[in-house]
């Protein structure tokens, strides 16, 4: 690893000011991608601004639409997750498990237990790895990404491979979304890395809108699939997926599988997502 200067930020504003004072600074959250990348000398930030210790950026709030009775997924809820909240905290949150179990399941399958204890949702989202799980979830849930400067819809946020709408010095502070009435995630993990070779997140909102986002497959990163959305909007079932023709155009071909293979997997994982 090249030399770097480490800073511990006390809050988001302090992190922004430390970042602006650095020549080529980078935010360090859990570091589960950034640290390995730096060790391989693929990244060499002059400064690291650690936000993992900022309490205000951690935590999960679930505000149910209905006050009465026990919280259930179908009743609807507004969910807010602090950017520095770890995957393990998302996976293990009891309120979230009631309101939106699919997101807990997704977080619980990222990496391995030790990685989940350190990796954060904000870090994953900011990195926008084309095979990461959270980008698909946020896009399908119509999430809002809040930064120290503004709010960005997930549709506008993810702009390409490892690319986002974030400006220099912009720091994600929280992620929020409405719990869906129905939601599922079908993931075919790479047998070696456990990253998604294809992951399909399907969500039906309380109002009946259906959004389907695909990760691991697109040449340009995470994307929504209009054909699957239309089919599932009229009939939320695996049968409806069978009738959808998933094109291989714009899909990745690599050592793990070619575009046609991934196109087929999208259908299979979409069925898994709605059958869950």
């Amino acid at each position: 690893m090249y030399t770097t200067k480490y800073h511990k930020a006390s809050d988001a504003a302090n992190a922004a000011s430390l970042l602006s004072g650095a020549q080529d600074g980078k935010i360090l959250a859990g570091g589960q991608t950034l640290v390995p990348t730096m060790k391989q000398r693929l990244a060499a930030p002059s400064d690291l601004v650690d936000i993992s210790g900022i309490d205000a950026l951690r935590g999960i709030t679930v505000t149910a639409r209905k006050k009465l009775g026990v919280l259930k997924a179908k009743d609807g809820a507004t969910i807010t997750i602090g950017a520095a909240t770890t995957h393990a905290e998302v996976a293990g949150n009891a309120d979230l498990a009631k309101a939106c179990p699919v997101i807990c399941g997704l977080a619980g399958e990222i990496g391995d237990p030790a990685v989940r204890h350190r990796g954060t949702i904000g870090g994953s989202v900011a990195n926008n790895d084309p095979a990461a799980d959270y980008p698909a979830a946020l896009m399908a849930l119509g999430a809002t990404i809040t930064t120290n400067q503004r709010s960005i819809s997930a549709d506008d946020f993810f702009t390409g491979l490892f690319a986002t709408a974030l400006n220099d010095g912009e720091i994600i502070t929280e992620i929020s979304f409405q719990a869906p009435a129905e939601g599922g995630y079908g993931k075919f993990p790479s047998p070696a890395s456990r990253y998604a070779m294809v992951g399909v997140f399907a969500a039906k909102s309380i109002d009946g809108d259906v959004r389907v986002a695909v990760t691991g497959a697109g040449d340009d990163g995470v994307f929504r699939h209009a054909g699957l959305e239309a089919a599932l909007a009229s009939n939320w079932s695996a049968d409806a997926v069978s009738g959808v023709d998933v094109s291989a155009d714009g899909l990745m071909s690599d050592i793990h599988g070619n575009a046609a293979y991934r196109a087929n997997l999208i259908g299979v994982m979409a069925k898994k997502a709605v059958s869950a």
């Binding site: 690893m1 030399t3 480490y6 640290v35 391995d112 030790a114 990685v115």
Partner: protein, 161 residues
Amino acid sequence: MTKIAMNVNGKAVSREVPDNTLLVEYIREHLRLTGTHVGCDTSQCGACVVHVDGKAMKSCTMLAAAAEGATVTTVEGLAASKDELHPMQIAFKDNHGLQCGFCTPGMIMSATDMVERYQAEGKELTEEAIRHELEGNICRCTGYHNIVKSIQDGASKMTNA
């Protein structure tokens, strides 16, 4: 260079180290606690797993500076005293849960973490769950079977300890 202080195995320690020092380098090279191993150096093998504030983490994928003020436990600090073994260490010995032993410190740190987590959540740590939980720990010798048996035995030894 920055002075980094933390509590390692119950002892307050402090060392002046370069900012890009990994936690595992801090532990092995500065504190000379070589029980924590570096296997792959790409955060896959888990030989470097230690507990940071009670949670299993990969010390090769974390800066020492990020552990400033933390409480760290390495395999050397797991047992109650120098003259005895932790119940999980006994279980690995009893069940032949190792061959070359290189991955064992990480296996044991992951094992104790999973047992404590499952106990805290009141969930049963089944054989299937153990295999799933070992996702981030690679062993090239044993085929995992005796490791899983060791963890099952260690879990009951920890419960009855």
